[in-house]
Amino acid sequence: MNVNDILLAVLVLIGAPIVGCIAAGIDRKITARLQGRVGPPLLQPYYDVRKLLSKDNMIVNKSQNFYVVVYLVFIVLSLLMLIFRQDILMIIFVYTVASVALIVGGMSTGSPYARVGSSREIMAILAYEPILILYALAIYLLTGTFKISAVVDASTPLLAYTPLIFIAMIFVLNIKLKKSPFDYSTSHHAHQELVKGMLTEYSGPGFAIIEIAHFYEYVFLTGLLFVFWTVNPVIGFLLSTAAFLLVIVVDNVTARVYWQWMLKLSWTFLLAISIVNIAFLYFSGVKI
């Protein structure tokens, strides 16, 4: 831990929510334009958070906000571990802590809407976690280690040998950002039967923390896609931005599906293409 590392950590802690906030603003702007509206200002997500923080702390039980704090802190930790090029498998497990904390937070409120949303989010874990770990496995097979630093030091981009896993990861991004057609646990769109799903009983400061954590999560998830092309950071950035924009467009042009459909898609198509890719890496023995 030298001075540079600390500066980088501080930069990430401050910079990531700003980037995430702007990304969320872009999301809302594009969505509005696609729906024929003008849309809110770019910084609207920031104004929202500022207002939420000034609101009353309305809760249904005393522990619900604890899980939200755990969610935020572990998202930040997984982002930092990614930035510091740690073990990717470990990063995924740390990220799971955050996801589980949010689910448990939703369930802890005891409200039926929240519980329905949370159970569906648990199913989302079942859908995306195997893909994420296969992504980690691909990194291991290509570099001989699970450390992200090996990918960064490589001279060939990861994407060259993992196109199928990249496709699967875009679906994971879609699921994790809770965008349509996979927005059945909680959604930015109005869904009457779900209300706000998992987050129904969160308001005021508690909800503000969730929004801030989402900003970090945006950066973290697109960062996972950035890893596919670290040789040239500009291409990596364009790649992850393109994936993000694609997810937003898909969000607006598709209707949400049953969660069963997502599970089937994931455990058949996504797993199959990922495993095919892994099998190729295993048998060809290529290294980057």
Binding site: N57, M58, I59, V60, N61, K62, S63, N65, F66, V69, V70, L72, V73, F74, L77, Q86, D87, L89, M90, F93, V94, T96, V97, V100, I103, V104, G106, M107, S108, T109, G110, S111, P112, Y113, R115, S118, S119, I122, M123, I125, L126, E129, P130, I133, L134, L137, Y140, L141, T145, F146, K147, V195, T200, E201, G204, P205, I275, I278, A279, Y282
Partner: protein, 633 residues
């Protein structure tokens, strides 16, 4: 010194089992406390005594050998008697075969002149598990059994405590002894004890399940004695360590495969899993003892001990695939279960499968993961079982759906079971750390790693939904909660053990695991532990950082809590609450009030027992046949 401790570890539980029979029920509480303290003291003594071997020779040996022989005959006679009495023909046939094998080996296998106990770091870990967790479970039982028997109009506590204590004695012997003949005796005693404990209720279900456990474990026993005969007559090997150090590892494949088969049966791997599922009809302390610290661990103990005999061979790969298959299959089955004890039973089988898979991979890193998983799994699973038992007494149900709102009814109990569940699936706790190690170690074998990935996702799902359910707060609050010291002390103690072992993971690794891997494979995993990181050649696990962040989260929560004064409100029910009656009442389409409810998703149609069990049997039997065939060829 070592010799005394070894002998005491076997004799002390037997003395306690006799004391339980001799003394009245009112003294059980004190006896259990004494047993707990003695167990902790003896196992710590064994660790302090260090490693080494203890030879038993001369007249001592002759006496003990004849005791062993008498006990073996007694076991066979007893099983013959009960299976004939209950007209259980499969068991009768199996015990007849074992009797035949025993007679054959008595006549044909060369007599050994001495017996030995081999105390290596792995034995020390196992002794700690058995004597600390096992006695804590017995202590818990003293606060549990009265209530249990009252409900079922039973009065068999003398049998119960006698068998439980005797079980621990057999287990202590099993993990220390090196001579195969004696090991087999301890092996059969644990089988017999589990039969007595599972059929404890003496109703039809209990007796049937007891016989199923007995029969399936006798299959393992038959494989075990066949292996002993093969080793004794063909290779002149009479000790467990002799198999590992033998230079002719390849020709030993068949007996080794047979011993592994015995281990699979003991560890309830598919297709033997039904005995462990049936074992849950017994009182909760029995399930906790069978599932966490004793019975099932004996199986994986043998398999890990045999690692040098199959590492790097086809048999090893077959074992790894078989274990990984059981892991994913049983995790999927656990997902579909609503009954908490069944979820735990499948979770146990799955985790043992993971241990077997790691042992099968056989690299230093994987073997280290296997031994560590045995330790961490035992602690977490014991706590989970005991908490489930206590929940059953508190709310009168073991259905996961009925546990919603538990945090309001029994906060401490909920905190403990949540800790146990979190320790099973999330970092920075030990089970996840070992899962991470075994995944990284398994990445060289594509089939094993894909199974592990799927199984790990399924594990997260079934624990996360249970965790969310116990932590969800509902408005009703009608359970009365009794907090007894004898029940809550073991629970809190195990909770503390989880945290302490997870924090000290690297110390444990250095002190026990690393020397053991060196003994088994002659090389140590290249793992270092600077700055709270668990670093191997292919990855790093920063457990200290995660502990710090977890503490930070708690700190932030408490620091900011006062900044935002909370205001309690009711659930959002689309403006239709009926607050006079219940926060969960809403007005339905007929303008009357209904209570809303939400339940978890169990995917019965995809992962249900009726869908997967047959498939599991077919594939697992196929895999075992392949492993055995690989052994013969």
């Amino acid at each position: 010194m070592l010799e005394t401790t070894v002998m005491l570890l076997i004799i002390a539980p037997i003395i306690f089992s006799l004391l339980f029979v001799a003394l009245p029920k009112s003294l059980y509480k004190f006896l259990a406390w004494a047993f707990f303290l003695v167990g902790v003291a003896l196992s710590v003594m064994l660790v302090l005594d260090g490693t080494g071997t203890v030879e038993v020779a001369g007249s001592n040996f002759a006496t003990l050998e004849s005791i062993v022989l008498i006990l073996e005959v007694l076991i066979i006679l007893y099983v013959l008697y009960v299976s004939a009495k209950h007209k259980n023909w499969p068991t009768l046939a199996l015990i007849a075969i074992s009797a035949g094998l025993a007679a054959y080996s008595y006549m044909n296998v060369a007599e050994v002149e001495s017996a030995s106990f081999n105390i290596d770091p792995f034995s020390q870990v196992m002794i700690l598990i058995v004597n600390v967790i096992g006695t804590a479970i017995i202590l818990f039982a003293t606060g549990y059994m009265d209530h249990y028997e009252e409900h079922r109009h039973l009065n068999r506590q003398k049998t119960f405590y006698f068998t439980m204590s005797f079980f621990l004695a057999a287990m202590n012997g099993l993990v220390m002894v090196d001579t195969l003949g004696w090991l087999f005796l301890f092996w059969e005693i644990t089988t017999l004890c589990s039969f007595v404990l599972i059929s404890y209720n003496q109703d039809e279900e209990g007796i049937n399940n007891g016989f199923r456990a007995l029969a399936l474990n006798l299959v393992g026993g038959v494989a075990f004695s066949a292996a002993i005969i093969l080793l004794g007559t063909r290779f002149d090997i009479a000790t467990l360590s002799g198999i590992g150090t033998s230079s002719s590892a390849a020709v030993l494949a068949l007996p080794v495969a047979l011993l592994c088969l015995a281990g699979f049966a003991k560890s309830a791997q598919m297709p033997f899993q039904s005995w462990l599922l049936g074992a849950m009809v017994a009182p909760t302390p029995v399930s906790a003892l069978l599932h966490s610290s004793t019975m099932v661990n004996a199986g994986v103990f043998i398999i890990v001990k045999l690692v040098p005999a199959f590492t790097g061979t086809t048999l090893g790969t077959a074992i790894a695939i078989y274990g990984a298959f059981t892991f994913v299959m049983c995790s999927a089955l656990a997902l579909s279960q609503r009954n908490a004890k069944r979820v735990l039973a499948y979770s146990t089988i799955a985790n043992l499968g993971l241990i077997i898979a790691s042992a099968g991979i056989g690299t230093p890193l994987a073997v280290a993961a296997a031994i560590m998983l045995i330790l961490f799994h035992a602690i977490s699973k014991a706590l989970l079982f005991l908490c489930t038992g206590e929940i059953e007494h508190t709310i009168g149900s073991r259905d996961i759906e009925d546990m919603s709102g538990l945090i309001k009814k029994a906060p401490l109990l909920t905190m403990l079971i949540s800790l146990a569940m979190v320790s099973m699936l999330l970092p920075p706790f030990g089970v996840l750390l070992t899962k991470w190690v075994s995944m990284e170690a398994a990445s060289s074998n594509p089939i094993v790693i894909v199974f592990l990935i799927l199984g790990s996702a399924l594990t997260t799902v079934y624990y996360a939904k249970w965790l969310g359910t116990v932590l969800s707060s509902t408005m009703d609050k009608n359970a009365v909660h009794h907090a007894k010291l004898e029940t809550y002390f073991p629970l809190s103690f195990l909770g503390l053990c989880i945290v302490v072992t997870s924090v000290l993971v690297f110390t444990i690794y250095n002190y026990f695991i690393k020397p053991q891997v060196e003994i088994l494979l002659n090389i140590a995993p290249t793992v270092s532990g600077q700055a709270g990181q668990f670093t191997s050649e292919i990855g790093a696990f920063a457990y200290a950082a995660i502990f710090i962040v977890l503490a930070l989260a708690i700190l932030i929560y408490f620091a900011t809590r006062s900044m935002f004064t909370p205001r309690m409100s009711n659930y959002y029910m689309c403006g239709e609450n009926n607050l006079e009656r219940d926060g969960l009442m809403f007005r339905n389409g007929l303008c009357s009030y209904d209570k809303s409810s939400a339940s978890n998703i169990y995917l019965q149609n995809t992962f249900g027992e009726n869908k997967l069990t047959t498939l599991g049997y077919v594939i697992s039997i196929l895999l075992i046949v392949i492993a055995l065939a690989g052994g013969v060829l």
